[in-house]
Point group: C2
């Protein structure tokens, strides 16, 4: 490697601009730490004339990012366009085939095409680095892929979407419903105008699929992630969870079971005694459990120009330092898809929280309790408040660890009862 690492940046949004600012501000430090100058040579974005608050006139400008990806004089292409098809994929493939290293923050692209791109990069002896794709500034990829490399990982889970964590935190603080908090979050810039990627769990699922691939030495399998979001969480759920000693967090969770690996993104009740329960606001958190290390928790900012640029620049420094572990912690040829990842693992029992909306009539609770008993589901707590006879009321139940199959079967019966007025809210409870 020469005394200069020449980079081209595709995409000049918040992260691209943040990266340029970082490389400028920390130039001396990075030169000392990386052993070379990391220099922006070329940039590409949709609109050359847009005011980004930084001067890009000193860089070679490309209207077409894919052309830039193969242009001469570039060591590393930084892909910050986003999206799992189209131009982003084209840029990454072109760059790798042209012998460039690639750094990307694009979780969607890697969730859909990670294994194929890693294979392509192996063939071309290129780095494909993506620390910024998962949990922003937190060194989660490095921590798992390198720090826990000697462990058989049993589980990795975390708060992988800052927008959802912010919204759940605000719902807890204010008691306001989802729609109202979403509007606030959009006004503050914490949520997109089209919020589905965040609030319906897809963004977290993209990240989870990458963590799961590393953790379990398997191909990236986004399609196997069971995805649920936070739209159906009511302030009532947050209120009762709090009363019972829990917080509700949207968790991405990948676990090894006897039957394979499960990958889920869904809201869960977490005991307040666990450190991860107290990671609030826009923060992200990743918990890794391994055969020898026990448990490691990493916390930090999962988004934003500064933290994401920090992760991109760390990847660039890794490349400058010649650090190139296998892209998913193992070469693609060694990946093992032991069994199809699946989201329902009947053997694995867990405790559940249920909020049943019932008409307050004599015998209603007895019917529900009998149904659960008939499915071998035993109750841990029951909360039913005093109220006017005849009103609609929530009955809050928590169960001992139960099979998901039995639970879903019981709920089908319960939700078909005349006295049950709305689909029952069902959320898993994480063990303390």
């Amino acid at each position: 490697m020469s005394q200069k690492l020449s980079i081209a940046i595709a995409g000049l949004g918040t992260v691209g601009v943040g990266l340029i600012e970082l490389l400028h501000q920390e130039r001396d430090l990075i030169r000392a730490r990386a052993g070379v100058d990391i220099t922006v040579t070329a940039v590409s974005a949709r609109d050359k004339t847009r005011d980004r608050g930084i001067d890009v006139s000193g860089y070679q400008w490309f209207d077409d990012a894919a052309t830039m990806a193969a242009a001469p004089g570039i060591d590393v292409v930084v892909e910050l366009i986003g999206g799992h098809e189209g131009i982003a994929k084209d840029v990454v493939e072109t760059a790798i085939k042209a012998g460039r290293h690639v750094v990307t923050a694009n979780k969607a692209l890697l969730a859909h095409h990670g294994t194929a791109l890693a294979k392509l990069a192996e063939e071309h002896k290129a780095n494909l680095a993506y620390e910024a794709a998962v949990a922003g500034g937190i060194p989660a990829i490095k921590g798992l892929r390198e720090g826990l490399a000697a462990n058989e990982v049993t589980e990795v889970f975390g708060i992988l979407n800052g927008t959802c964590n912010y919204m759940l935190t605000e719902m807890a603080a204010t008691g306001a419903p989802f729609d109202e908090i979403l509007a606030d979050a959009q006004a503050l810039g914490y949520a997109e105008a089209e919020p589905s990627t965040d609030v319906d769990g897809y963004d977290a699922a993209h990240k989870l699929a990458l963590l799961a691939a590393i953790a379990f030495a398997r191909p990236v399998d986004f399609d196997a992630v069971h995805v649920d979001g936070i739209r159906h969480i009511s302030p009532l759920d947050i209120h009762y969870a709090d009363e019972l000693g829990y917080k509700i967090k949207l968790l991405g969770q990948a676990k090894r079971h006897a039957g394979g690996v499960s990958q889920t993104v869904r809201p869960q009740l977490i005991p307040k005694s666990l450190p991860v329960a107290n990671i609030d606001g826009v923060l992200n958190a990743v918990v890794m459990r391994g055969s020898f290390v026990d448990e490691v928790l990493l916390v930090g900012r999962g988004a934003g120009g500064g933290p994401t640029a920090s992760a991109v620049a760390a990847d660039l420094i890794d490349i400058a330092r010649g650090i190139a572990p296998p892209i998913f912690g193992i070469t693609t040829g060694h990946m093992q898809a032991e069994s199809p990842a699946n989201d329902t693992v009947p053997e694995s029992k867990q405790a559940y929280y249920l909020r049943v909306s019932v008409k307050d009539e004599p015998g209603v609770f007895a019917d529900i309790a009998a149904t659960l008993r008939d499915h071998a589901i035993s109750l841990e707590t029951v909360v039913q408040r005093g109220h006017e006879p005849g009103q609609n009321v929530p009955v809050i139940l928590t169960t001992h660890p139960s099979s998901e199959t039995a639970m879903r079967s019981a709920l089908a019966t319960i939700d078909a009862m005349d006295t049950v007025l709305a689909p029952t809210q069902l959320l898993p409870i994480m063990p303390a």
Copy 2:
């Protein structure tokens, strides 16, 4: 590198035995991830005949670890002897000079000789890896040195000693005094028979000196660490801190100030709202603050055979993968000792907790308050409980951010008062 990484282990205590177990149990996984077999070839310990629960007869035995360090056929020497002089230092130096890579868990050795050993390793193109030396299984060195490499670090702090964290947690839970909790911890194996290294803060100081060197690109400077331990913490302090919304933790903290870098190990009051306040029991935690990443928190087990072996093995896998960043994140030739690190930075103001033991006589509190006022120290809260006249009572004060110089000067006056019955307890309060 051949298809085998041949290692020699010096020291077969808990960590050495844990490492052998790990390399055996995770052999297939490590081969797949590292690309080579990591094989124990030779071992050395004081007593060949001791029953360690594992069979070491298959390894070449050396009575003298330094001889082993230069023996043929070894790629990496793992130093798990401990201590900052004598045999451990000899083993590491001999191994490096013989062209071996070194992995060590020895924080004391590196705290005292880290820069010199890093220089020696640079000269001999050897790795000197020490993830296990700081915070056990937590990838703290990797997180800081690589994950935050693009950041100007402003501060690194953490709970770096599990024994002290366990003891403070137990003191809080039981209200029992230090001596009693120490005896319990010793009985449980959480504290050594000779506990000074832990409870007087030296172990945390060793680790802090390593983190500070990486964070601030400076030579390791253990002698500049201001070290205070937890012997003087009373259950009263924990009780009143709790009442005021704080937990008491022994924190190692290195900060960049206008005048240089400060390194301190001392008990501090931490607002319960900060995640690090809720890291209890034997857990360790490291917080890193950087110019772009904002803040990252890492939590996990800081000691024990499994977690420490996990970190040692991660270093071995790094070596197998050819991962060799500068030992302290920067080559020794680029390290800058801008100014002597110092523990008192008068410009830096902070809030304080004071517990003053006074004879309950009229005017006593007025005298104390006047003294603080005369030193431009303003009070945030005062807690003084009702009691029988004439009894000795604690007066608990917290201050607004104040200069340490002014505070120490005020305390000299206060502690010289006839009505003040014992040296005042003074603890810094971390900002929320």
